[in-house]
């Protein structure tokens, strides 16, 4: 045998490594190099001009803030609703499998499709939401959900809540099912109320799952694109413009490849920082 057994793993790993380098590494390096180029300077010159422009770009700072708000509230609401639904589905519920499927449905709807559906739901003339709220007497006149500056971001976050909570729910449900029943039984015998059981058994039991769900959800929400692009295209003004839509616009609408690459690099650094606790946790386990 020309390869020793202890080196055999390389043969199996190599195709995957090559594929990863080609599919992820090469575009990433190209993008980083692009971010140091400028349209005017030509390929040979590498400068920090794009990063300096980013610091002065008022739209970028607004977009960064919008992304923070969007991600913070989306993730927080995903966690709250996801945990609540997971606990309901973990209880002795009749027809549990059916409810689990129903709860998962929003998650299987593609981002753009969800955006288009909700854009029509929110429509002030034809929208089902206004119609429903008027019929049950909660509204007198239709609300401009996506055009009202005070409501546009909230409306986008609400749709994202609907679309994204099942993922968190799924992870936390798996965590809930791994908590031994006897802990609750012992607590009940000792007379601990449900809230105490939740604080001292459920939450500690879910700690790792919560970190996983948080890390993955934050990364996904920072990258969220189709939903906002389909609903508001960043408007009104730049009230719902987030980093992903701004990068897309710079790259594909304005053809500013170099500047868009700089935004992507900043986004990647932020995402890496956010992912650190998750990476640390995984490495600790190993």
């Amino acid at each position: 045998m020309w390869i020793k057994d202890r080196h055999m793993w390389m043969v199996f790993v190599l195709p995957g490594v090559i594929l990863l380098v080609l599919v992820l590494g090469w575009p990433a390096i190209t993008s980083i190099l692009y971010s140091f180029e400028t349209e005017q300077a030509g390929d040979a010159a590498y400068t920090l001009a794009n990063y300096k422009s980013l610091l002065k770009d008022p739209f970028f700072s607004t977009t960064f803030w919008n992304t923070t708000v969007f991600v913070f509230f989306s993730v927080a609401l995903h966690m709250i609703l996801g945990l609540a639904v997971a606990m309901v589905l973990n209880s002795a519920l009749p027809a549990k499998p059916m409810f689990r499927v129903i709860a998962l449905l929003p998650w299987v709807v593609p981002d753009v499709v969800a955006g288009i559906i909700w854009k029509w739901m929110y429509d002030p003339i034809y929208g089902a939401l206004n119609d429903l709220l008027i019929k049950i007497g909660l509204l007198n006149n239709p609300i401009e959900w996506l055009s009202n500056p005070k409501l546009a971001m909230t409306s986008a976050i609400l749709v994202n809540l609907w679309r994204g909570f099942p993922f968190v729910m799924l992870i936390l449900l798996a965590g809930l099912q791994s908590i031994p029943r006897h802990l609750y039984e012992a607590a009940a015998i000792d007379g601990a109320p449900k809230l105490q059981q939740f604080i001292h058994i459920t939450l500690p039991g879910l700690k790792k799952m919560i970190v996983v769900a948080l890390a993955l959800d934050i990364v996904w929400e920072v990258r969220r694109f189709g939903l906002i692009q389909a609903m508001t295209q960043g408007g009104p003004g730049v009230l719902t413009e987030v980093l992903s839509t701004y990068t897309y616009k710079q790259y594909f609408k304005f053809f500013r490849f170099e500047y868009a690459s700089a935004i992507s690099v900043v986004m990647t650094i932020v995402l890496l920082l956010v992912s650190l606790p998750y990476i640390w946790m995984i490495s600790q386990e190993e």
Binding site: K119, L146, M231, G235, P236, G237
Partner: protein, 430 residues
């Protein structure tokens, strides 16, 4: 004898295989991409056109690649950068500078020179001028139309307005829009609006806003295209007029900043609005959305309302050959075919889009006698094209952002326009 028979069969098989291979080798496949392929009416028409092409050029097989209207630039940019763009594709004329700048459009001069002098004389001069980059033809012109005011004659009649006397001035237009905005079912709430327009960050916005801006005597940029021209009193007046249609006069339906062209056409098709800005594509699309409206009968069109001077926006599309095409000669045959006189007339008959060829739009009775096309053709002398500079999409996005801020009341029209002016200057100075 048996041996001879075996050898003969063997030879015959070889000849057949070689003939087949040689025939296969001559067969060329071209990729053709157009956003119209996603539209029912156009899709049928383009497929019929390609059937004719296949009969004329049996050695060329054309594979159709649909792309959505909003994503065409994205698709072609990525594919061009990777050297895998369709052999022939369709874009707005105002997207061309970006494609030219990145080297994503093949120089067509050698093909045009082979066609002989005078080949381009069949087209109007302006479209030809806009297809040039560094003095050389890098694209062929396609649809060439003006934006006009479409209105529902039945809704005019219901409000006591004479459909044969559409609004001519912006003052009349506002008066008409106010009259057409009303509560039709008596529940105390407005359910019909005078004017529907695009307010979203869409390529269709500038086509609808430009006629107002230019008619007020203003412009986006200075003539040398080096600076913003939005600080003039005329620009401020036009901007305020457009914003106040929504904020003050309330003749535009709610949700304006989220409205794309198709949603506005849906409002016209569903009789929610009585007037919109549109062009040749409007009647067939509205008819498709709501056949019960009987759009070809009920709709009528008129020149864009005038404030100080007659002006409108010109819609011009263009056909681009990818520099990475492996079959440039066949791709040119396809481009020549889709821009030929007969086929351009077919595009009009099927889709109501007028041609950039003057030997079609200027002479064809089908166009000259059409109630919509005749109005659009009459406006060509007053038509303006959007600036053909690579910063244009970014400038328009900046402008639309400010307009939206004024529409939703985040900023006064003066402040929003002033900010747009400064930002556009910063973009141009970069």
């Amino acid at each position: 004898m048996k041996k001879i028979f075996t050898i003969s069969v063997f030879m015959a098989v070889i000849i057949i295989v070689f003939s087949f291979n040689s025939a296969m080798a001559e067969q060329v496949t071209l990729r053709f991409s157009d956003w119209h392929l996603t539209e029912d009416v156009w899709n049928k028409s383009l497929n019929e056109g390609m059937d004719i092409f296949h009969k004329q050029y049996p050695n060329i097989k054309v594979v159709l690649e649909p792309v959505s209207y909003g994503e065409k630039e994205t698709k072609y940019t990525v594919e061009s950068a990777a050297g895998r763009a369709p052999d022939v594709f369709h874009v707005h004329a105002f997207s061309l500078p970006m494609f030219f700048g990145k080297g994503f459009a093949k120089d067509l001069t050698p093909f045009i020179e082979k066609e002989g002098s005078g080949f381009l004389d069949a087209w109007y001069p302006l479209p030809i001028k806009l297809m040039k980059h560094n003095g050389k033809m890098h694209a062929m012109p396609g649809d060439y139309m003006t934006m006009v005011l479409f209105y529902n004659t039945n809704m005019f009649k219901a409000c006591g307005l004479d459909p044969d006397k559409p609004p001519k001035t912006t003052d009349e237009f506002l008066a008409y829009a106010k009259k057409l905005t009303r509560d039709t079912n008596g529940d105390g709430k407005v359910d019909q609006w005078g004017f529907g327009t695009v307010g979203a960050k869409s390529p269709g916005f500038s086509m609808r806003f430009g006629p107002f801006l230019w008619s007020f005597g203003a412009d986006y940029l200075t003539p040398d295209m080096k600076r913003s021209a939005l600080d003039t009193p005329e620009a401020k007046e036009a901007f305020a007029f457009f914003v106040e249609l929504y904020t003050k006069h309330k003749v535009v339906p709610p949700g304006l900043t989220a409205m794309n062209p198709q949603e506005v056409r849906t409002q016209l098709a569903q009789k929610k609005v009585a007037m919109i800005m549109g062009s040749g594509w409007t009647p067939p699309i509205v008819n498709k959305i709501n056949p019960d409206l009987n759009a070809f009968e009920v709709l009528q069109c008129a020149p864009a309302p005038v404030k100080r001077k007659q002006a409108t926006a010109i819609w011009l599309s263009s056909w681009v050959m990818s520099p990475s095409t492996k079959h440039p000669n066949e791709a040119w045959q396809l481009m020549k075919f889709i821009t030929s006189k007969d086929i351009e007339l077919k595009w009009f008959v099927d889709n109501r889009v007028t041609s950039s060829r003057k030997d079609v739009s200027g002479v064809a009775p089908e166009i000259l006698n059409d109630k919509f096309a005749s109005v659009m053709a009459s406006q060509l002398p007053y038509g303006k094209v959007e600036p053909q500079i690579k910063q244009w999409p970014e400038i328009m996005d900046t402008f639309t952002t400010s307009l939206q801020e004024a529409i939703v009341g985040m900023k006064s029209p003066e402040k929003a326009l002033s900010e747009a002016h400064e930002r556009i200057n910063a973009i141009l100075a970069r």
